[in-house]
Symmetry: none
Subunit: 420 residues, 2 copies
């Protein structure tokens, strides 16, 4: 028994869309202690959706379907579920009203075909979808089985699954054993360096297990433990995390869903410090990431994207001779950008970033990927040279990651000095 | 009938690995004119691999399996195929020799368990794997059906599929037809509005078919055609694209892999125009996107990220009284930001963007998501009010999309006016 994932959409069979929904659902179910034994994909075809659903119900207690809940003619999921479970479709006035309101809020009139999304199999529990028009559905099937239908848009499906579907399934199927997991996030270390630092633990620890997952600019360490209770899982994870922290120290920047920009934001808030950004090769990305967390207007004051030498001089007071002598991509210019920005914005900290994102603009002496990042603060200016090896967009991302991490380390060392 | 993809591996059911093999196989089969109607995933479990294989053979002419061909105990694919097709496993001396040579070439001795990889179902055609130890297999099944097994490592599987498997399948099943596809990208229209605009074509056009795919801030239209030749496919796609262009006009911004920022960049280059950006709620994202395409330094001059009222006044010359009278999030301030930026940067165009990204800062009169975007040019200033309904980061993305699209439309109407 266990759960089966059914993803619906012709685009998934044409290979134009990679089925990330199936992986997300599988991962969340595993974490909740729900075993998944089958994953099936069919196109927007009434007969095959029905066959897949009947088959899934013959061998799995829980069937989780995504996709095919939209307003158009080729969105068939709801109709097929109703037919297979022999439940009539009924108009749900609450759903209809919420779709109508969604359109009205945007100053639009609901189109006729959106009404189809309010036709719900009788007896279904409606799962509200604050991010779109298609609600999710929880529909009881024979022998205590359960069909769940969710929209295929990942940003709508993901919170619906974790906030509404999984808590209900755990309760309904009295799922006791849990798989607990925790992600520890590092930056500033490569995968092989990390393997050297903690490989012995990774190989000897069986419960929790340890796995390394590489992402651009950061490596994640996933701890996974199987226990009877949440408390026991947390105790095991805490123990292993403490051992890893002892070895890795400041290389660990955060846990689970935390992002680097959120950690930096919290450190800025805690220290009561403000920041401004002068960026060239990152083109606004550092400022964009710093302003992603809610409440970031409390510490992000201002940003300048200065591509041209002229703008570096005019806006940040970088001396013309400095650029002429060292070139725009140089440690001296990064430092002058940071100092100039700090003075102009009146912030506690300022970043200066200059580099060659590529693909053009490189030379033997200054290759694509060469980047200088400086931080100006009351204590002076610190700077670092980086050499990134990606394409243009990866180099922008890696430079933004390095810049945020330099701010993090600066604030941490400052905090530790205050505490000492 | 048609083909069915069977991916094998417990990691795919835990969500730790996204099933990119299935997407790759699907895409290549589609392009070769082989229809795929089912995709199934099971773990490394003898019973379930067997069940999935029997099921696939009951409804598909071709079954393409990936994974489970490695040398370890949990690599079961070959054994299960032999059992389901009632063919004994026989030792293939050529395969054994090539595995042994592979190890010898690296100065290693073949381990005992690698010998298992030379046990092949009787009657199978062996597909050499120059990139790894596990060969691929083509095994005839009853009623002229065919089972293909390939290793799960993408770098080994992909060339095996395109160079060895697909040519054999096309020949064996006498497949003349090919599938061609094209993506047309729209922005500035909702999925249901688009359905109303072209739904009749979508429902009546059977070859090519038309499907709508929703993404944040844009809807894609996928055209898929089945023909005898590449040329014929292109001719059909061109014809349907022309009909859609007639109806949708400027709502279509690009094709296939093209991104909105690339289209905007090309229009700027063609017009010989430069741009500067003054952004508040988007926090640098518009500048970041504009600087993603290589060569963007030719037209992006400068950006200002002005969160505070103070910065809007100091950096862009937005009058203090204007902010006091209308509020920082207002049409008047967006327009003043755009004009101020254009004057300060000396560019042909400048954007001014102000809004409430959320989650805080909204009111009954000015709700979260309210955003004003203005473009200043030699012809004056145009502006538009938007109401976005996402969370903070989606609102940033939707506002950046709207801003880029306004630049695109401005440049297009200017170009059309010049041509007229």
């Amino acid at each position: 028994m266990g759960a089966e994932i059914l993803t619906i959409g012709t685009e998934l069979l044409l290979g134009q869309t990679i089925d990330t929904n199936a992986a997300y659902v599988a991962e969340q179910l595993a974490a909740a202690g729900i075993d998944v034994y089958w994953k099936t994909t069919v196109g927007d075809n009434e007969g095959r959706i029905g066959e897949a659903l009947r088959q899934a119900l013959s061998r799995s207690e829980i069937v989780i379907a995504t996709g095919g809940l939209g307003p158009t003619e080729d969105d068939l999921t709801c109709r097929v579920i109703a037919a297979v479970l022999a439940r009539p479709l009924v108009l749900d006035r609450t759903v209809l009203e919420s779709i109508r309101r969604r359109f009205a809020d945007r100053g639009l009139v609901m189109s006729k075909n959106n009404e189809r999304q309010a036709l719900i199999p009788e007896g279904a529990t409606v799962l509200p979808n604050p991010r779109g028009t298609a609600p999710g559905l929880l529909i009881p099937a024979r022998d205590g089985r359960m069909v769940v239908a969710m929209p295929g848009v990942p940003s709508e499906m993901q919170p619906m699954l974790t906030e509404q579907v999984i808590p209900r399934l755990r309760k309904r199927f009295e799922i006791g054993a849990r798989i607990g997991s925790r992600i520890l996030k590092t930056c500033g270390i490569t995968e092989s360096q990390l393997d050297e630092a903690i490989g012995d633990l990774a190989r000897s620890s069986l419960n929790p297990t340890i796995a390394l997952l590489a992402h651009p600019g950061e490596i994640h360490i996933r701890l996974t433990v199987k226990t009877k209770s949440h408390e026991e899982a947390e105790r095991h994870l805490d123990g292993l995390e403490a051992r890893l922290r002892e070895r890795l120290g400041a290389l660990l920047y955060g846990r689970d869903g935390e992002r680097l920009e959120e950690v930096v934001g919290r450190l800025l808030l805690d220290a009561g410090q403000t920041v401004a950004v002068a960026e060239s090769c990152t083109g606004g990305l550092v400022c964009h990431r710093l302003t992603n967390p809610s409440g970031s207007s409390a510490y992000v004051v201002r940003g300048e994207m200065v591509y041209s030498n002229r703008a570096k001089e005019d806006r940040l007071g970088v001396p013309h001779e400095l650029i002429a002598r060292h070139g725009a991509v140089s440690r001296a210019v990064a430092e002058a950008m940071a100092s100039g920005m700090r003075e102009a914005a009146g912030t506690d900290l300022a970043l200066g970033i200059t580099g060659i994102a590529g693909p053009g603009g490189g030379s033997a002496e200054k290759p694509v990927g060469l980047t200088y990042i400086a931080i100006a603060s009351a204590e002076g200016v610190i700077s670092r040279e980086w050499r990134f090896l990606g394409d243009r967009e990866i180099n922008k991302l890696l430079a933004s990651q390095a810049a945020l991490d330099m701010v993090r380390r600066h604030l941490m060392s400052r905090r530790d000095a205050t505490l000492a």
